[in-house]
Amino acid sequence: MSPSFHRLLLAPLFGLCLSAGAAPLDEPLKPLPAVPQQNPLRIELGRQLFNETRLSVNNSLSCASCHRLENGGADNKAFSLGFNGVPVTINTPSVFNASLNFRQFWNGRADTLETQIHGVVQSPSEMGSNWEHVVQMLTADAAYQTSFANAYPDGVTMNNVQNALATYERTLISANSRFDQYLQGDTDILTLDEKYGYQRFKDYGCIACHQGVNIGGNMFQKFGVMGDYFKTRGNPTEADLGRYLVTKDEEDRNVFKVPSLRNVAVTAPYFHDGSAKTLEEAVDVMFKFQLGRIPSADDKTLIIKFLKTLTGEWGGKPL
C-alpha cells in the first residue's frame, strides 16, 4: 500500500479523535436536510393521490404501485409494468429523496417533480391517462373535491394535482441513516470496516460523481467513461441513448443523471437498465466502465459495507 494512501487513511482517523464531540463533519457527502415546512392539507391530499389507482387510465396503477415506500421507494423489477402490463423501457428509480435530485428521470428531462408527474401520468407506457380525464375523475369524487377545496383556493386543477403530489414527495426523505448520523458527528456509529469503506469510496474516485447531499443526483455523466458499457452488455435500446434523447447532442449520447446512492442496498436491481442484480455487480460495473480501475476484493467488500450504511429510515423503521 502506498504511503500517500496511508496518509489519506490517517487523516480521517485524526479527525475521528479530534471530533469526539458531536460537531458535524465537513465531508463531500452531506447529511439529508430536514423535511420542509408545507401545508399539511396538501401533504395529506398528495398522499391520497400517490396511492390513487384512478390516476392511470384503467385504474390499475398508482404511483405507489412502482414506487413502493416499503421497498426503498421503487420496485424490485428491472422494468416495472405499465398500466397495460407491458414492461416499461427503463428502471424505476426510488421516490425517496427524489426532491433532492437536480433533475428528474434518468435522462433528466424534467426540471421539477411537477413536470415528472406530468410526464408519468400521460406516458403511454406508464399510466396512459390524460389530465383532462384525471381532473374530471377527481372533480366527480366528492371527497377529493372537498379536500382540494380545503387545500387550494381554485379546487381541482391539473396544477394542483401535480403540486399536491410533489408536496407529498418532498416529505419522502429517508433520514437518519447511520452514515448521516456519522456525518452529523456521531462517529462511533460506523464500524471500522465501514469507515474504511467510506475511505475507499473516496480514494477510488466514486466521490467524483456520487457526492453532495444526495450522494449523486447532482450531475449528468456518461455511462462508460473508461470503456464501452453498451457494447459489452449488448442489445442496445433506445433508452440507452440517455440524455441524447432530450438534447439530440452527440455529446450527450449514453449520458445519464448520476443516481443517488442513498438506500442503494435496498433498491436492487441497479442502473437504468436494471442489469445489475446485486450491489457487487453494480460496483464491478462502476469500477470497470466509470473508474477504469481494478479494486482489490477487500476494498470492494469495504465499499459495499459502506454503501449499506446509507440506508435511511421511513416511518420510524429502517428501509
Binding site: S2, L29, C209, M219, Q221, K222, G292
Partner: protein, 603 residues
C-alpha cells in the same frame, strides 16, 4: 329663484367633481406603481447577477479541485430560476413583454442562461472524470514504479529508462493539466507511445497497470482541452451582460417614468397653486360677504329694536286705551247698577209713597175728629152734664158714641202702626239697596266671612223689581254650604250680572214660564260652585268662545262689558267662570267656580 338655486348647486357640483378628477388624474399619473416594481426588479436582477457570480466561483473551485461537492453548482441555478420566475411574472404583469426591445432582451437572457446551464452540465461531467483521473495518476504511477523496483533480475538500465519514461509521462500529463498546449499534447502522445513499447518489454503483470495508466492519461489528454474549452465558453456566455441590458432597459424606462412623474408633479404643483389661489379668492369673497352680512344684520337689529320700541309704545297705548275703556266700562257698569238701584229704590219709594199716602188719608178721615165734636157737646153742657147725659136725647147717646169711638180709634191706630212699620221696612230696604251699592262701589278686594245664600238673596233682591215685572220664577237649589271667606263685592257683581243676564235671556220667552235656577254646592271639598241657569234664548255655538271677550254683546243696548268683567273678577278671585249651552233656544248655564275657603269655627 328656486330653479336658479338648483342650477347653481348643480354647476357647483360639476365644477367640484371636475377639480377632484383632475387632481386624482394628476396624482395617479405622478405616482405610478412602476417605481415600486422598478426597485424590486432591480433588486431581483441584482440578486440574479450575484448568484451568477457565485455560480462561476463554484465552477472555478470545482476546476481546481478545491471542492468535491457539486451541489453548489446546482443550487445557484435553482435560485436563479426562482428569482427569474418572480421577476418575469412581475414584469409581464406590467405589460413589459409588449415592448419588442424588452422581448428581445428577455429572450437573449433566457437563451444565454440556457446555454450556460448546458455548458455547466457538460463541465460538471467532464471535470468530474478529469479530476478523478488526475488525482489517480500518482497512485497509478506508484503502482508501476513499485513493481519495477521489485523486478531485480532485469536489465537495470532498461528498467531505469522505463521508470524515467513513466515518470516523464506523469510529469507531462500534470503539466498538461496546468498548461494545455499542443506541445505538451505531443509530449504526452510520445510518452504514451514509449509506454506502449515499454509494455511489450515488461512481463505480463505490468500490462494491466500500464493500460490503466495509459487509459487515464488518454482521458486527461482528451478531457483537459474539453474542460478548458467549456470553461472558456462558460465565461463567454454573456449572462451578466444580458442582465445588465435588462437593467439598462429598466433604467431607461424608469428615467422616462421619472421624467413623466416629474412633469405630472409639476402639473400637480401648478394645479395646487391654482387651487390655493382660488381658495384665497373665495376666502376674500367670503370675508366680504361676511362683512355685508354683518352690516345687514346690524341694520336689521337696529330696525328690530326700533320696531320693538314701537310695539312697546303701541302696547302701552293699547293698555292705556284699555284701562280707559275699563274705567269707562266700570263707570258704565256702575251706571247700570245705579240704574238698577235707582229703579229698585224707585219701586220701594212707591210703596213708601203709598204707605205715607195711606197714613195721611187715614189721619185725614180719622175718627179722632168725632172725639172733638163729643168734647164740644160736653163743654156746652158743662153745668148740667149729668142731666145732659141722662136726659138729653143727644146726651144720652154720647157715652155710646164715645165707646164706639174708642174702638174705632184703636182700630185706626192699629192700621197706622202697621202702615208705618211697612214704611220703615221700605226705608230700610232703600237703605240696604244704597248700602249694597255703596259697598259695590269699593273696588278693593276684601275678604270677609259671608253666607253665600245670603249673598244670592241680596242679588235677587237688588233685581227683585225686574224679576217680579218679568214674572220670573226663581228656583233655589242651595246645597249645605258653610260660612265662607269671600270677596263680597266681586261675588255680588258677578251674581247680579248673571241674574240680570238670565233675566234678559228669558225676556223674549212667551210660550213657557220663565224659570231661573240658582245653585250652590261644594265640589270635591275645595271648590265653591255657584250656578245660574236659565231656559232662555241660549248661546250659539260660534259665540261660545267669545262671550267673555271684551265688547261682545248680543243686546242692542249692551256694551259688552258685563260678562267680561265677571270673568275678570272670577280670575281675580283665583277662580273661573264658564258658560254652557246646548244651543240657541235651549237655555244657558253659567258656572262660577272659586276656591273654597271656609271660616274657621271660632273656638
Amino acid at each position: 329663484m328656486k330653479t336658479s338655486n338648483r342650477r347653481n348647486l348643480a354647476l357647483l357640483g360639476v365644477v367640484a367633481l371636475m377639480l377632484a378628477s383632475v387632481l386624482l388624474f394628476l396624482y395617479l399619473k405622478s405616482s405610478s406603481n412602476q417605481t415600486i416594481t422598478y426597485a424590486e426588479s432591480r433588486d431581483l436582477i441584482g440578486r440574479i447577477k450575484q448568484l451568477n457570480a457565485q455560480w462561476e466561483t463554484e465552477i472555478l473551485k470545482a476546476r481546481i479541485a478545491i471542492s468535491h461537492n457539486y451541489d453548489p453548482l446546482v443550487s445557484p441555478l435553482t435560485e436563479i430560476t426562482d428569482l427569474w420566475e418572480r421577476f418575469d411574472t412581475m414584469e409581464s404583469s406590467h405589460g413589459r413583454n409588449d415592448s419588442p426591445v424588452w422581448r428581445t432582451s428577455h429572450d437573449a437572457y433566457l437563451s444565454a442562461i440556457q446555454e450556460k446551464t448546458r455548458l455547466v452540465e457538460q463541465f460538471k461531467s467532464h471535470n468530474a472524470v478529469l479530476r478523478n483521473s488526475l488525482a489517480f495518476l500518482p497512485t497509478a504511477e506508484d503502482d508501476i514504479q513499485e513493481q519495477l523496483a521489485r523486478l531485480a533480475d532485469e536489465d537495470k538500465l532498461q528498467l531505469q529508462n522505463i521508470a524515467t519514461d513513466t515518470y516523464d509521462l506523469l510529469l507531462s500529463s500534470l503539466e498538461f493539466a496546468q498548461v494545455t498546449s499542443d506541445d505538451k499534447a505531443a509530449d504526452i502522445l510520445l510518452g504514451l507511445n514509449k509506454m506502449g513499447v515499454n509494455k511489450q518489454r515488461l512481463p505480463e503483470q505490468f500490462h494491466s497497470p500500464i493500460d490503466i495508466l495509459n487509459n487515464h492519461i488518454s482521458l486527461i489528454l482528451r478531457e483537459q482541452p474539453v474542460v478548458n474549452r467549456l470553461l472558456e465558453n462558460i465565461e463567454a456566455v454573456p449572462v451578466a451582460e444580458r442582465l445588465d441590458d435588462m437593467t439598462n432597459l429598466l433604467n431607461t424606462d424608469q428615467q422616462r417614468t421619472d421624467a413623466a412623474n416629474q412633469r405630472y408633479h409639476f402639473y400637480m404643483l401648478v394645479f395646487s397653486v391654482l387651487l390655493v389661489l382660488l381658495l384665497v379668492y373665495l376666502a376674500i369673497h367670503l370675508m366680504r360677504s361676511f362683512t355685508v352680512i354683518n352690516r345687514v344684520n346690524k341694520a336689521l337689529q337696529t330696525a328690530n329694536e326700533d320696531l320693538e320700541l314701537r310695539v312697546e309704545e303701541r302696547t302701552r297705548e293699547l293698555k292705556d286705551t284699555q284701562s280707559e275703556l275699563l274705567d269707562t266700562a266700570r263707570q258704565a257698569g256702575m251706571a247700570e247698577i245705579a240704574t238698577n238701584v235707582l229703579h229698585n229704590v224707585g219701586n220701594v219709594l212707591n210703596s213708601v209713597n203709598i204707605s205715607a199716602d195711606l197714613v195721611s188719608r187715614k189721619l185725614r178721615g180719622s175718627k179722632a175728629l168725632g172725639l172733638g165734636k163729643a168734647m164740644q157737646l160736653i163743654n156746652d153742657h158743662q153745668g148740667d152734664l149729668g142731666t145732659f147725659l141722662t136726659e138729653d136725647p143727644k146726651g144720652k147717646l154720647l157715652p155710646g158714641y164715645l165707646n164706639q169711638l174708642v174702638d174705632a180709634i184703636a182700630l185706626e191706630q192699629q192700621g197706622m202702626t202697621d202702615e208705618l212699620a211697612q214704611l220703615t221696612k221700605s226705608v230700610d230696604h232703600i237703605k240696604d239697596i244704597v248700602a249694597t251699592q255703596q259697598s259695590y262701589a269699593g273696588a278693593n278686594s276684601l275678604m270677609e266671612p259671608l253666607h253665600i245664600s245670603e249673598l244670592l238673596e241680596d242679588a235677587l233682591r237688588m233685581n227683585s223689581g225686574a224679576l217680579t215685572r218679568h214674572h220670573v220664577t226663581v228656583v233655589k237649589e242651595y246645597g249645605d254650604v258653610p260660612q265662607v271667606m269671600g270677596d263680597k263685592h266681586r261675588l255680588l257683581l258677578i251674581l247680579i250680572n248673571l241674574i240680570s243676564n238670565a233675566k234678559y235671556a228669558m225676556s223674549d220667552l212667551t210660550n213657557r214660564p220663565r224659570q231661573m235656577t240658582l245653585g250652590v254646592k261644594i265640589v270635591e271639598d275645595k271648590i265653591l260652585q255657584v250656578s245660574v241657569k236659565d231656559d232662555g234664548e241660549g248661546i250659539a255655538e260660534e259665540n261660545m268662545t267669545r262671550i267673555f271677550s271684551h265688547g261682545f254683546t248680543t243686546r242692542k243696548e249692551g256694551h259688552g262689558f258685563g260678562l267680561h268683567s265677571c270673568a275678570l273678577a272670577a280670575i281675580e278671585m283665583n277662580g273661573h267662570l264658564t258658560a254652557h249651552s246646548d244651543g240657541p233656544g235651549k237655555g244657558a248655564l253659567f258656572t262660577l267656580q272659586i276656591p273654597l275657603k271656609t271660616v274657621k269655627e271660632e273656638a
